[in-house]
Every structure is written in structure tokens, then in C-alpha cells.
Subunit: 221 residues, 2 copies
């Protein structure tokens, strides 16, 4: 790549990081916890939110920023949860950037929120490269994708604060090597918590909710 | 985005397209069929190749260009198939470009090949945007990802010449809406063939091999 091209890409990333820092400062001031959900397409991000939002809503004021290449499909699925939703259509772009998040904020009442979930575009590669001002990135990976995803796409697992191994109910029908999965993640990001979840039978949900509670309590301190 | 940035991105895409055109002309001259496999991470591209290569090898000279963000994991898995493999590590980039394919060609004997499979980086978004000089893009989607993937990530399904609905053996354990899947694809790309495959029990493999045979026969004419 020519030097001028590299320079311009660096500028774009710097602009993204600067806006992300502004967002982070604003969320700190408002004491809002923002969680950035990242996974392959079809790992279960939307379903996880469908099952999680009703449980959190009892205690916290929650909103969702929904990132999608096109369509409002996921936002429509979440409407029945009856929480504020801001939809970002990326017009083909494969990840969310901080500038879009800042725009989405204008559709939310930040004086009246405890938690914002960001459902990133379904993509295990690019979203991990962009700071959107979140408190934590959460990596979802589902059992049918295979145990080798962390080692093959390590950046996300390095950047994340939590791994959800989702669709754990399907594991009996698969040749999923659990030991290799845990071993690889330990190599990439020692000590990162891993919670095995099923949105079908809600296994792991107590742990998942406890993790969120811990983080929101820290934020409110 | 500033005008100069747009201009530079356009230049990058034009350089990619120019190299793709060169590749296409070379493959035409050598009568080699090149198939570009694109899917989310974990849809089963490598396993499909593991099961397909031994069957094709009986009749055709086959090679694989293996695209991965980092690691040689998939290339190592395919080594036992005993076909020429050229590995491209993209160093974090989320898709293959034609320049990398041209470089990978130098590791292959193009005078001694009938078919090249390109296993693209696992990503349902970006690889569809880059012409690498292939004859056909093939979209894989696996049943656990859900029936809504084509409508949510339509570009690939518009660009592809064939859809493989993989891991069909798992469908009985899922709430996969087959009608919606077929209906959506028909809306996006009317008439595109869809083959339901399982790498576990090889269902759909006769049809998949017949599709490849038809394309290689056309190419050799």
C-alpha cells in the first residue's frame, strides 16, 4: 500500500479513537455501562438480547444500539422487549464505528439509562478493531462454529472482557472439543471468564446476569 | 468521508479489479475453474473441502488457496488431502484481494491444474465485495446460523452462483425456517441453485459434485 494510503487509514482510525474517547467520557459522566456484543453472523446475539432484556428490565433502564449492514430485522425482533432501540444501518460496512454510535446517542435519552447494549454487525474480524467507546467488548461464539474460532480469529478474544460460549445445548450433536476451546482461549487471553450459555434453556444465564450486575455496580460507584 | 479518502478507496478497488481481470484471463487461457468459497466463520468451508477434494481428485487436478487472518490451521487440516495448497495469511485483513491470489499462483503449477478452490476468510460481509478473478462465488450458510442470513447479508447471495445450505443434518435440532430461507433467497437472486449439504453423512454431495462437473466441463469447452 502506498504511504499516502496508509497515512489516510491512520487518520481514519485516529478520528475513530478520538470520538470513542469522547463517548467513553460521556458514559462515565452519565454512569452508563455500554457493552459491545461481537460475534460471527448467527451466533445468537439477537436471541441473547431477546432473553436477557426482560430480565434486566426489572431492575435497570436498558437500551440497545442495533448495528446491521442493511434491514431492520434484528431491531424489529427486539421491539417486543419494549426498550429504547437505536438502529444503525451501515450501508454495507462490516463493523460499527464510534461516529455512528455518537449519532445513535441522539435517539436515546442518556439521562435515563443504566445499560446500553451494542449489537455489532455479525463479523468475527473487523468489529474487534474499532473502539466505539464501550466499557467492555463481549465475544460470543456458538458451539456449531467449532472450537477453533478463538485461535483462528484471536484479536476479538484478546480485546474482549468476557466470552460467551453460546448454543451449549447443541454440543451433544457436535464434535466440539471443549478442552481445546478452553486451552486456546487461555493461551490468547489468560484469565478471561467464559460462560456457557443456552438461550433455549437459559443455562448459564444466572452467571451472565451476575457478570453484568457486577459491572454495572462498579460503574455506579 | 473526505473526498480524497473516497478517491483513494476507489483507486484501491480499481487496482483490485484490474488484477482480477488479469487473473480471469490467465485462468481462461489455462482452462482452470476457480471457485471462491465464502461464508461466516464456522459454516464448514474447510470440512466441505476435506470431504470434497478426495472425490474430485479421482478425476481432476485440484489445488486450494487457503485464506486465513493468521495461523495455518485450515491449510494443515487439508494437507492430508494431498493436493497443492497455497496459504495466504492476511495479517488481520478480513477478506482476500486479487493481488494476494496472484502471489499465491506462484506457489502453484498452473499448467497442471483443472480446479482451484479458494477458501476465503470467514466473513459474510467483506469478501463478497472483492473480485479475485474467480469464475464463481459460492455462498455457504449453515443451518445453526439461522434462516435470516441471506436477507441480512444480501450482497454475497446476489453475487454468488450457488448456495450451499450446510450442516443440514442439524436441522432437526433447530428452529430453522426453511420456507423463509428459500423465499428470501428467491427475492435476492431469483433462480440461483441451492443445495442442502451435510459433511457428516454426505447428503447433497452428488448434486454438489454434479454442479462442479458441469462448470468444469463448460470451462474446458
Amino acid at each position: 500500500m502506498a504511504k499516502i494510503e496508509i497515512k489516510i487509514l491512520q487518520n481514519l482510525l485516529q478520528a475513530n479513537d478520538a470520538k470513542a474517547a469522547e463517548i467513553r467520557a460521556l458514559l462515565q459522566q452519565k454512569k452508563i455501562l455500554m457493552l459491545n456484543l461481537i460475534s460471527s453472523p448467527g451466533s445468537g446475539k439477537t436471541t441473547l438480547l431477546e432473553k436477557t432484556l426482560p430480565l434486566l428490565k426489572e431492575k435497570y433502564r436498558v437500551a440497545v444500539i442495533e448495528g446491521d449492514v442493511e434491514t431492520a430485522k434484528d431491531a424489529e425482533r427486539l421491539e417486543k422487549c419494549n426498550v429504547p432501540i437505536a438502529l444503525i444501518n451501515t450501508s454495507g460496512a462490516c463493523h460499527l464505528e464510534s461516529i455512528s454510535i455518537a449519532k445513535a446517542f441522539s435517539a436515546l435519552d442518556l439521562n435515563n439509562l443504566d445499560i446500553i447494549f451494542v449489537e455489532n454487525v455479525g463479523n468475527l474480524v473487523c468489529p474487534a478493531e474499532f473502539d466505539i467507546g464501550e466499557d467492555y467488548k463481549i465475544a460470543l461464539v456458538s458451539t456449531p462454529e467449532g472450537e477453533d474460532k478463538p485461535i483462528k480469529y484471536p484479536l476479538l478474544f484478546r480485546e474482549a472482557a468476557l466470552v460467551l460460549l453460546n448454543k451449549i445445548d447443541l454440543i451433544e450433536h457436535l464434535n466440539f472439543d471443549r478442552d481445546a476451546f478452553y486451552h486456546d482461549i487461555d493461551k490468547i487471553h489468560r484469565g478471561i471468564p467464559i460462560i456457557e450459555t443456552s438461550c433455549k434453556n437459559k443455562s448459564g444465564f444466572a452467571e451472565w446476569l451476575a457478570w453484568i450486575e457486577e459491572k454495572i455496580t462498579e460503574k455506579k460507584m
